[in-house]
C-alpha cells in the first residue's frame, strides 16, 4: 500500500550559508507559476510537522548545530533534500576556512539537486524522488517497529543507571 506521506509531503526549508539564489528558487516553487500545493506540498515552517527538509547553502561551523537540530526535531519518516551545488558539496564556498562542505557532512542526505541556482523544476523533481525514499522509510518503519522500540528502552535504562552512578559519586565527595 502506498503511504499517505507521499501524498502530503510537508516541507521545512533552511538556508545554510547560500547566496539566497536557491532560496528564491525554492520559494518560486510555491508561487502560482509552479504551485507545488497541487501535489499536497506545503511549506509549513515547523520541523515537527515536516516530512521533507530542504537545505540550501553549505554547512559551516556556525549552523552545523542548527541543521542537526532541525533534522532531529523532524518525526520519522523524513527525507533530506540538498538544494543547489553549495548544499551538495560546498560549491564555490568549499575552500572557505569555516565551511565544512555539503549538508551530507552533518546529516544524511537522500536527494541532491545540483545547479547554481537550482531550477524550480529540478527542486520539484528532487522532492518527488524523495517521495520514493519516504515510502521506503515508512515500509521499513512498519517492519522494524517492535525491534526498534526495544533498544530505545534499553538506552533509557542505561542513561538512568549512568545518572544514578554520577549522583552516587557526587554524594561520596
Amino acid at each position: 500500500m502506498s503511504a499517505y506521506v507521499t501524498k502530503s509531503p510537508w516541507v521545512v526549508h533552511y538556508d545554510g550559508s547560500s547566496c539566497n539564489g536557491c532560496d528564491i528558487e525554492v520559494l518560486a516553487c510555491l508561487t502560482p507559476m509552479y504551485d507545488v500545493e497541487r501535489f499536497g506540498i506545503i511549506n509549513c515552517g515547523n520541523p515537527k510537522h515536516a516530512d521533507v527538509f530542504l537545505v540550501t547553502g553549505s554547512v559551516n561551523e556556525q549552523n552545523k548545530g542548527i541543521v542537526k537540530q532541525i533534522y532531529e526535531q523532524m518525526p520519522e519518516p523524513k527525507v533530506v533534500v540538498a538544494v543547489g551545488i553549495c548544499a551538495c558539496s560546498g560549491g564555490i564556498f568549499k575552500d572557505c576556512y569555516n565551511v565544512l562542505g555539503g549538508v551530507d557532512q552533518v546529516i544524511p542526505v537522500d536527494a541532491y539537486v545540483p545547479g547554481c541556482a537550482a531550477r524550480p523544476e529540478a527542486i520539484i523533481d528532487a522532492v518527488v524522488k524523495g517521495l520514493g525514499v519516504l515510502q521506503a522509510k515508512r515500509d521499513a518503519m512498519l517492519e522494524q517497529k517492535p525491534a526498534e522500540e526495544a533498544p530505545a528502552e534499553e538506552a533509557v535504562e542505561e542513561t538512568a543507571e549512568a545518572v544514578e552512578e554520577v549522583k552516587e559519586e557526587g554524594g561520596e565527595e
Binding site: 506521506v5 500545493e37 515537527k48 518525526p75
Partner: protein, 289 residues
C-alpha cells in the same frame, strides 16, 4: 424523541468529520483559484490527516497528548449536545472547556512559540466569548428556551428579529475558524512568525486528532448559523443548510482578502460588535417579545 436524538448523534459522529474535511478541501481549492493556482485535490485534508497518523510519535511532555485528548473529547461532546437537541448554554460551556484544554496543552510544552500561540488563543477567547453568550441569550429571548430541540420546533424564522445577533455571530466565526484577519494563534497558511503558534509542538497523531476535532467544531459552529433559519418547514432546512455552507465560503473569501490584524484590533472590533449589534438586538427583543 430519544430515537430521533440517537439518530442525529450517530449522523453527527459519522458525517461531521466527512463534511468538515470536504469543506476544508473545497476551501483550499477555492483559495488556490483566488490566487490563480490549480490547488490540491479536494480530498487533500484527508490525505494530510492520514499521513499525520503514519508519523512517529513525539511529544515534549507526556501530559500534552493527554490534554489534547480531553480537547478532542470535549469538542465532540459539545457537538453531540448540540445535535441531540440539548441546552445551548451547556454546549457553549463545553466548547469553552475544550478550548481551555487546547490552551493548557500548548502551555504544557514549554515551547516559546506554542506559549505565544496559547496566549493569543486566550485573547481570542476573551474577544469572542461575549458574542457567543449573547447569541444564546438572543435565542432564549426569542424562543423562550435554551434547548436546541425547542428552537428547531419553532414555527417562525428568527433571522429578522435577531439580525444584529446573526451578523455578530458571523463576525466572531472568523475568530472561531481562525481565519485572517483574526488568525492570531495559529493558521493554515504560511504565516511563520510564530512557526505554527498554538500547534507548534503537536506532532503526528496528536496533530491529526486536532485537525479532526476542528472539522467537528466547524460543522457544529455552522449548525448555529442553521438555527437562525429553522422554522419547522422543509424550506427552513434547505435555506438554513445552504446559508450555513455559504457562510463558510464567505469566511474563506474574507480569509484570502485580509491581512492578519493585531490582537488589539480583534479584541476591540469583536467587543464593539457584541455591544452594538448584540446588546441593541437583545434590547429590541426584550421590548418586542
Amino acid at each position: 424523541m430519544i430515537v430521533k436524538a440517537v439518530i442525529s448523534i450517530i449522523a453527527y459522529l459519522v458525517l461531521a468529520p466527512l463534511v468538515g474535511g470536504l469543506l476544508a478541501g473545497l476551501e483550499r481549492k477555492l483559495s488556490a483559484k483566488m490566487q490563480r493556482r490549480v490547488g490540491p485535490p479536494v480530498l487533500q485534508p484527508f490525505y494530510d490527516v492520514f499521513k499525520l497518523f503514519e508519523k512517529e510519535k513525539m511529544a515534549p511532555t507526556r501530559f500534552q497528548d493527554f490534554y489534547v485528548l480531553i480537547f478532542v473529547v470535549f469538542v465532540i461532546a459539545s457537538g453531540l449536545l448540540f445535535f441531540a437537541g440539548g441546552d445551548l448554554l451547556l454546549v457553549i460551556f463545553t466548547l469553552t472547556i475544550a478550548t481551555a484544554f487546547l490552551i493548557v496543552a500548548a502551555y504544557s510544552s514549554n515551547s516559546p512559540y506554542a506559549e505565544v500561540g496559547a496566549e493569543r488563543e486566550l485573547l481570542a477567547m476573551m474577544a469572542y466569548e461575549p458574542m457567543v453568550l449573547l447569541t444564546a441569550i438572543g435565542f432564549y429571548m426569542y424562543h423562550g428556551s435554551f434547548n436546541v430541540r425547542d428552537i428547531l420546533a419553532s414555527d417562525t424564522m428568527c433571522l429578522l428579529p435577531m439580525l444584529g445577533i446573526f451578523v455578530g455571530w458571523i463576525f466572531i466565526l472568523t475568530l472561531k475558524f481562525r481565519k485572517s484577519p483574526f488568525d492570531l494563534s495559529m493558521s493554515h497558511h504560511a504565516h511563520q512568525e510564530l512557526v505554527r503558534g498554538l500547534t507548534t509542538e503537536f506532532v503526528g497523531r496528536t496533530m491529526g486528532l486536532i485537525e479532526i476535532s476542528h472539522w467537528y467544531e466547524n460543522v457544529f459552529l455552522l449548525g448555529f448559523v442553521f438555527l437562525f433559519f429553522a422554522n419547522g418547514t422543509a424550506w427552513g432546512w434547505v435555506i438554513g443548510i445552504v446559508v450555513a455552507i455559504l457562510t463558510y465560503f464567505v469566511e474563506v473569501f474574507i480569509d484570502n482578502t485580509f491581512a492578519r490584524m493585531k490582537w488589539q484590533f480583534a479584541f476591540k472590533a469583536s467587543w464593539i460588535i457584541a455591544i452594538v449589534l448584540g446588546m441593541v438586538n437583545i434590547f429590541v427583543l426584550y421590548l418586542c417579545y
